[in-house]
Amino acid sequence: MKLNRRSFVGAIAASTLAAPMVRAGGHGTPRVVVVGGGAGGATAARYIAKDSKGAIDVTLIEPTRTYYTCFFSNLYLGGFKQMDDLGHSYGNLASAYGINVVHDWAVGVDRDAKTVTLAGGGTVPYDKLILSPGIDFVDGSVPGWDLSSQNAMPHAYKAGSQTELLKAQLMAMPEGGVYAMVAPPNPYRCPPGPYERVSMVAHYLKQNNPTAKILIADPKPKFSKQGLFEEGWEKHYGGMIERIGPDFGGENTSVDPAAMTVDIDGDVNKVDVCNVIPAMKAGRIAEIAGVTDGNWAPVNAVDMSTKADPDVYVLGDASQQGDMPKSGFSANSQAKVCANAVRGALTDSRVFPAKFSNTCWSLIDTNDGVKVGATYEATDEKIAKVDGFVSQTGESAELRKATYEESEGWYSGITADMFG
């Protein structure tokens, strides 16, 4: 049946029809369903609705009414942003772009019937399904920790109440206490994220609890922007931060949430805050839809369609696409390529070549911003890196300040691009 449909679409594309063509399976307006209203999903929904001007019916399924961005949530921990600064509502996507926003969980996908089942009971039919559910955690990746421990040892790797909890714990630390972080193994969302977080926690502690210590247990030998972070930590927070990498057993870490201890290669540390960031995998719904292979959903680079099903697309963190880091910027970039392709497949709009890019800014201390970025292209195998850059150690204070200001501009830009 899928083969038939594809050859049908191919035949239409080859014919020369003057009137705008709509390719919906036997019903009127073609239907796109987007699951997950984050960096990937909100952008995809908005672009398809905006550019198709009513020619495509767009439904966005997202359980939360306010999306709190993970990006800049570390700055909230550092005291640079308020929680309210990070929250965005879906009202505008509904009112200004005519998107049907359904606040519910998607709990099932029937790829033959082409429907999505909601936790509330209904089903939503689609011609094209776009999944951008972000991440979930790999069970057992940090021995002693599971989701039921997230109140004692928060991950704060999905923004919102977890972030607030971690901040509250940070503020409640006794004088000279220890903040521990169990860093995740690759691949995970936002490669510089844990280290920006350490910087922001250190910034907070330096002001409020200067004798406190930060202990990082890290399974990775290297991490993103390492030279820049280590330079900054030395400069701003000398002596406060200790990182134990795999050469000293950092990968052999377990926790005991009841006792508030972290065991790093047999060395048991009593800590006051323990921020466990476990190994990650695609948001559950991708697995439920049957489009994952292992932890992630492999996709075709040209349009982000899954290898498993040409009518199901996976964006952002959940996708396994090649060289792009899992970031909000990447998810947003992929969403626009996907939106263009989906629109082209469902109407007669022009399809342009895929182009991707990413830049991740991180804040190390007040006005000390750094960035890393790259451009990417679609090849047959993957999204492949074309060219990249990273901030340099020893940059002037002025440049670092400008970089931070740039990141604030970017935040306004991307959230406007997602939510209109």
Binding site: K336, E398, G409, S412, G413
Partner: protein, 316 residues
């Protein structure tokens, strides 16, 4: 001598003739005297001529010395001017690093408007401003010195421009304070505005017409397409605005379609030529921002034209 030998050989005849000889001698002496006197007169005359020549020459030499002195002065002035433009360049670089040093120079535009009356005899500014006696002053901030097409600048200013002089708050302030110290050969026949506060006010007024360089270091040099060194063939490419719309989605992750410019400059409603010029400057890595170098670096000429065509009319 030979004649006296002859006389001694002639004996008596010499005695007879002695008186006549004496007369003849006296005559000859008189003649000789006259000749000598005439010669002396000639020498004197010649000496006078020479003296005149000498004094003439002395005057010339003095003139030369004066000219040499003037040349030295001019050379010194040139060096000062180069140094000034170098300082200006350094200052411009410094100020790029520290926006505060630039922005500290900004005063009361209202008073600046009144002060501008001193300039308006030669300079136009605002909508429809054209070159007159002096060049128009729109988009002055961030502009390369002596860069308005169709205006004939002094060599002095042209050279300063070649040395990298750009108009920013600090360089403009120095120039307006004392045009000739800043660029000795400038055609701007204006004595200078000596009062610091007045200059700040005037600059505040001028800045209004400079694409609002906002409060960000990037915006002043980048918000206007300054160097029009792009191949005219590239500038002539007609952009495919629909393709531009698709490509623009890569820009709007950071640059807001609404034109807001906090931290990241606005890119909407730019004249196409400025947009294309700016993008090529990033592509060629003439402009420094590494994100923009990357993005522009892989855009083809057609794609840049497409983006320019799309953004020129974008209004949300």
């Amino acid at each position: 001598m030979s004649s006296s030998v002859f006389l001694s050989g002639a004996g008596i005849a010499a005695l007879v003739l002695a008186g006549a000889v004496a007369v003849a001698t006296a005559n000859r002496d008189r003649q000789e005297l006259a000749t000598a006197e005439a010669a002396i007169g000639a020498v004197h005359a010649e000496r006078d001529v020479l003296r005149a020549k000498v004094s003439e020459l002395q005057e010339t030499v003095q003139e030369h010395a004066a000219l040499e002195e003037r040349i030295r002065e001019l050379e010194a002035a040139l060096q000062d001017r180069d140094a000034a433009s170098q300082t200006a360049e350094d200052a411009a670089e410094d100020s790029e690093d520290d926006p505060a040093t630039v922005l500290a120079g900004i005063g009361d535009a209202e008073n600046g408007k009144t002060l501008f009356r001193q300039c308006s005899g030669c300079h136009e500014i605002g909508a429809g401003a054209e070159n007159g006696v002096g060049p128009h002053l729109n988009l002055l901030f961030g502009r390369k010195a002596a860069s308005i097409d169709g205006y004939r600048y002094s060599d002095s200013l042209m050279r300063a421009a070649t040395n990298g002089l750009e108009w920013h708050a600090d360089t403009l302030s120095d120039y307006i304070a004392d045009p000739r110290t800043f660029a000795s050969g400038t055609r701007m026949s204006y004595a200078g505005m000596k009062d610091d506060a007045d200059r700040r006010d005037l600059l505040a007024f001028l800045r209004i017409y400079s694409d609002n360089p906002a409060d960000i270091p990037e915006a002043d040099p980048t918000a206007v397409g300054t160097d029009h060194s792009v191949d005219p063939e590239i500038l002539a490419i007609a952009g495919d605005a629909e393709y531009g719309e698709y490509l623009s989605s890569e820009c709007t992750t950071c640059h807001q379609a609404s034109g807001s410019d906090d931290g990241i400059p606005s890119i909407v409603l730019w004249p196409e030529e400025d947009f294309v010029t700016a993008m090529h400057a990033y592509k060629e890595k003439v402009r420094p921002n590494p994100v923009m170098q990357l993005i522009a670096g892989r855009l083809s000429n057609e794609e840049i034209a497409a983006l320019a065509a799309y953004f020129k009319d974008l209004e949300e």
